[in-house]
């Protein structure tokens, strides 16, 4: 059997194409088909998980823009999610704005606050920046918990069921309707992020990550690049937070703690730093992991009662182990594993 053993371009146009081979188009079609069929195949429980994944994907893509593409470590993800969730919930429930407008304003507000907390990045790098963003996480958490005005002293915000210009989400088909709502938003966000790195702005982010001093020497405005990276990233994160507020219909501070920041960092590490596709894989992996462990615990648990008793502890242990094993074995994550698998087939019978 004759194989192509690689991708060969015959013109510059061909090289600049987004997708080079028929296989790539076929895979894209398959993914689309799977996404379209999903709500009719999955049970309500798994569709709920799919919806949480769709929301998490937006947040993970946002974090990867900052950490993976711009090289600015951030432990403040939970805080920025909180800003998005609280601001959109308050704008739509108390200020009475229509939901889409509230979401857009929340995204903008989160971007502004993200840029503000990104200011230390102008002076700090690496470890110091990580600690500075840890502080921003704790400070946002403090404001959210203690400032009674935000929740009218209730400690939480109740968000009414989503209502878009008179069209109300129904109780019976809650998950399905949300799926159709979230899917296009997530796809658009992923495409926007993907295309961001084909623009000069996106390329300047990557230059800052690779060597900030060299980037400055070739004319990248460091201040602008770093602050916009924080703003753009926080914008995505704010969108994710705002959507989660309407989807879960309550906003409480417990869902935005440091553990959440760590969870999102784990997503992009497992998926692959500096890869939009990787953020998607990572979000799917980290969100499915606890659900799958619960399933396994449920089936095996009858035979081994120890396992089902220890399930919460096991979930934590597997979470930590996943991070450690990925960092030690494949630091570039699922994305790299997937592309190695593709390369193996593409270049067969040669090794490279």
């Amino acid at each position: 059997m004759a194989t192509a053993t690689g991708i060969h371009h015959r013109s510059y146009r061909a090289e600049l194409r987004l997708r080079h081979t028929k296989a790539e188009w076929a895979r894209l079609a398959l993914v689309f088909l799977a996404l379209l069929v999903a709500p009719y195949v999955l049970t309500v429980y798994w569709l709920g998980i799919a919806n949480s994944i769709l929301i998490a994907v937006i947040g993970a893509v946002g974090l990867n823009i900052l950490v993976g593409f711009t090289g600015q470590i951030s432990l403040g993800q939970g805080g920025f999610l909180a800003v998005g969730a609280y601001s959109s919930a308050i704008l739509s429930t108390r200020a009475g704005l229509p939901v889409p407008l509230a979401v857009i304003l929340a995204v903008l507000l989160t971007a502004v606050i993200g840029a503000l907390f990104g200011l230390p990045a102008l002076r700090l790098k690496g470890l110091y920046l990580a600690i500075a963003t840890l502080a921003s996480q704790e400070i946002i958490m403090f404001v959210v918990r203690r400032w009674g005005f935000l929740t009218e002293d209730k400690g939480y915000i109740e968000v009414p069921r989503l209502n878009l210009f008179g069209w109300q989400i129904e109780r019976e088909t809650f998950e399905v309707q949300w799926y159709w709502l979230l899917l296009p938003i997530t796809i658009l966000s992923v495409m926007a992020a993907r295309n961001l790195f084909r623009t000069a702005l996106g390329r300047s982010f990557m230059a800052v990550r690779d060597q900030d001093i060299a980037a400055e020497a070739i004319g990248v405005n460091l201040t602008r690049a770093k602050v916009t990276a924080f703003a753009v990233s926080s914008g995505f994160v704010g969108l994710s937070g705002a959507l989660s507020a309407y989807y879960t219909e309550t906003v409480t501070w417990e869902r935005f703690t440091l553990d959440v920041s760590v969870l999102y960092l784990a997503m992009i590490i497992v998926g692959g730093l500096g890869s939009i596709a990787g953020s998607v894989y990572g979000a799917i992996f980290m969100m499915l992991l606890p659900a799958l462990l619960t399933e396994i615990g449920g089936t095996v648990g009858n035979a081994v009662p120890f396992l089902s008793e220890q399930l919460p502890a096991i979930k934590n242990a597997v979470f930590g182990l996943a991070i450690i094993v990925f960092l030690l074995v494949e630091p570039r994550g699922l994305d790299r594993i997937w592309s190695r698998m593709k390369d193996y087939i593409r270049f067969w019978p040669f090794r490279y």
């Binding site: 470890l127 600690i131 704790e138 960092l265 784990a266 182990l321």
Partner: protein, 290 residues
């Protein structure tokens, strides 16, 4: 005035434990340039090991401490060898994330064996109060300050006088030069992690004695960051100054203003210091050369 003195004693006691926890952190950072997000979990593991030996196995406290020290050393060395060493030279984010993963695993292990409920442990330090300058102060807080002081002094002497201590300082200063002088950098890395685990053990046991043996001990690990940033990431005396400052600050704020505010004040100080003097009071300023 009474409130002031008692707040000061409480603050100094908290600060002394913080300084011990931060010492382990600084030891690791100084020798290996690793930011250890699992420091709080080291405290947790230390406290629970001591609890196991002391309460569950019924050993006298001296033997229990010995068991704790042995377990801490093994933990430190194993973590260094199998988790951190493969990542030498990797990007900062990988190193940070691996210690975060480690913290999740350590916490999960403790949770598996002991559950999440609070464990009762008979107090080791006397719980009665004594009168100092007309104010009654709990004796155990004073003893904690004293004990932490002794441990910190011992570590300082170790770094100044002992062969291994000087080797560790040499490696922190310049790894290649230390290698050419015949110092085993691997051994120093292992030693740094082992010592960090031991100082975390002491901090964990003291903390458990003041409050209780519970999962919440791990949360102490995060307040270490303001301490080390204040003192300087690579400064041993900085941990003492930073620890005491943050400990006192937290107590004063919670005593005079608002206990909730006291939780966040260390981080506000942290941001302020990062903006003004990122390398801390005693930290070494690093110049980046292209």
């Amino acid at each position: 005035m009474n409130t002031f003195i008692s707040l000061t004693v409480y603050g100094l006691a908290d600060g002394a434990i913080l300084a011990l926890a931060a010492l382990g952190f600084v030891l690791i950072y100084k020798a290996t340039r690793v930011i250890n997000f699992a420091q709080g979990e080291f405290l947790l593991v230390g406290a629970y090991t001591f609890y196991t030996a002391f309460v569950l196995m019924g050993l006298p406290w001296i033997l229990a401490s010995l068991v704790g020290v042995v377990v801490a050393i093994i933990l430190g060395v194993v973590v260094e060898r199998f988790v951190l060493r493969p990542l030498i030279g990797e990007h900062a984010i990988s190193v940070i994330m691996v210690t975060i993963g480690l913290s999740a695993v350590l916490k999960a292990i403790v949770q598996m064996f002991f559950g999440t409920s609070v464990r009762e442990q008979p107090k080791i330090l006397p719980t009665n109060s004594i009168e100092v300058a007309g104010v009654t102060v709990p004796l155990n807080r004073l003893l904690v300050i004293l004990l932490a002081g002794i441990v910190l002094l011992a570590f300082t002497i170790f770094f100044r006088r002992s062969r291994h201590g000087i080797a560790m300082r040499a490696v922190a200063d310049d790894q290649q030069a230390a290698l050419t002088m015949g110092i085993s950098v691997r051994q120093v890395f292992a030693l740094a992690w082992a010592l960090a685990a031991v100082s975390a053990l002491i901090a964990g046991v003291l903390l458990a004695d003041l409050s209780a043996v519970e999962q919440g001990i791990a949360a102490f690990g995060l307040i270490v960051f303001p301490v080390v940033i204040l003192g300087g990431l690579d400064s041993v005396p900085g941990t003492i100054v930073g620890g005491l400052t943050i400990g006192l600050l937290k107590q004063y704020v919670s005593g005079y203003a608002d206990p909730g505010l006291a939780e966040v004040v260390p981080y506000i100080v942290l941001v302020a210091i990062l903006m003004v003097r990122p390398y801390g009071i005693f930290g070494e300023t690093r110049i980046e050369r292209v």
